[in-house]
Symmetry: C2
Subunit: 192 residues, 2 copies
DNA sequence: GCGATTTTATTGCTTTGTCAAGCAACCGAG
DNA sequence: CTCGGTTGCTTGACAAAGCAATAAAATCGC
């Protein structure tokens, strides 16, 4: 009696199990990684992610908006993370030459060192919390599937579906972005 | 410095791809689900999760700590969510009879109705963002793997390293809930 | 060239959640 | 029975991240 609307069929038991397991995983995994990194390296997962993406970028630098997209973070969130990383000198901001509105976040040598220092912790953590549990799965297939999760254009679920049950909307205001360029290929660490 | 500890081998390319894809998914998927629910139902994912777990519990009630564990949330976080859900009358708190320190969060009829109202949105969202992208995978195997992610009893990676680890005082705690009783019709799907 | 619009990044405010401290009720030893 | 310690939950202080508003620079139309 939940149905109505177009009433999609409910999930079958196997789908249900996957969804429940995934629902748990998306809550627990990032916390576990973040906790390890915080404890052993005094660094948040987002900070690590920022350093990592920079280390893989050509010239070890990226525009703020690029970096935010790469880290799946809002621009304002990225501003704050870069500011945080700037204080110990892991990153410097440089004005963008071809567009003076923009800034490049540039990974310094100190920042690269810091990343390399944190890398073993992250690697161990990733192995322990994730990779070690994937035995027997077809990794290529899995990677493909995971890449596609939540890539649907935004919401626009079915544009109208008629509800807005409890309260009137103020404004959906979706800020979702498209897929990140993701040109960079590899490592968690930098080859420089 | 930090490395040592036998320095694990880096990930192979396939593992790397999975980890990167998963890293993205764990950031993006919850936001997508939450955004849909917020937009169409004015309800956060955690609120939905709380209602859902209660709906499946015997007597439509759970102790605060149980519920927090089920939702993978801190106890204080759960206190706040239950308080929020109490205001519109979706939940009531009742003192626990066999231990007067404890409280049961009880799902009211209004709360159940609310959950059923939100269910189609959640179902569509879950299909669109998750299930639709899992074609071709062995779902049973995948569910098993996902259930095991981040289950390692806390870190204890390498304890030392000269820092001041503020001692993660909380143990793993491991209050994982077994398979959902699923008595209620409204799980994420739980057709009943 | 000069205003109007658009893009890029930062800042203020708010929400949400965690941690630490606190209060109340339970439990076991004497 | 009562006193020390523990457990279950709530509250206060704080941190992180998002959205809205803003500033600054670019770009377009004329």
């Amino acid at each position: 009696m939940v149905s109505m609307t177009g009433s999609l069929p409910p999930l079958n038991p196997e789908e249900e199990a996957v969804v429940r397991a995934l629902a748990r995983a998306i809550l627990v995994v990032p916390r576990a990684l973040d906790a390890d990194l915080s404890r052993e390296q005094r660094m948040s997962l987002n900070e690590y992610s920022a350093l990592q993406h920079l280390s893989e970028a050509p010239g070890r630098q990226m525009r703020m908006s690029e970096l935010a997209a790469a880290c799946d973070l809002s621009l304002s969130g990225m501003t704050r993370i870069v500011s945080r990383l700037e204080q110990p000198g892991y990153i410097v901001r440089e004005r963008c030459v071809e567009d003076a509105r923009g800034w490049n976040a540039v990974l310094t040598d100190a920042g690269l060192t810091r990343l390399e220092q944190a890398y073993p912790t992250q690697l161990a953590s990733v192995r322990r919390h994730i990779v070690d549990h994937l035995e027997g799965l077809d990794l290529r297939q899995l990677a493909t599937a995971l890449q596609n999760l939540a890539t649907t254009g935004i919401c626009a679920n079915h544009p109208d579906d008629g509800r807005v049950p409890p309260a009137p909307p103020n404004g959906p205001d979706d800020n979702r972005r498209a897929a990140p360029a993701n040109g960079r290929a590899t490592g968690l660490a930098a080859n420089s």
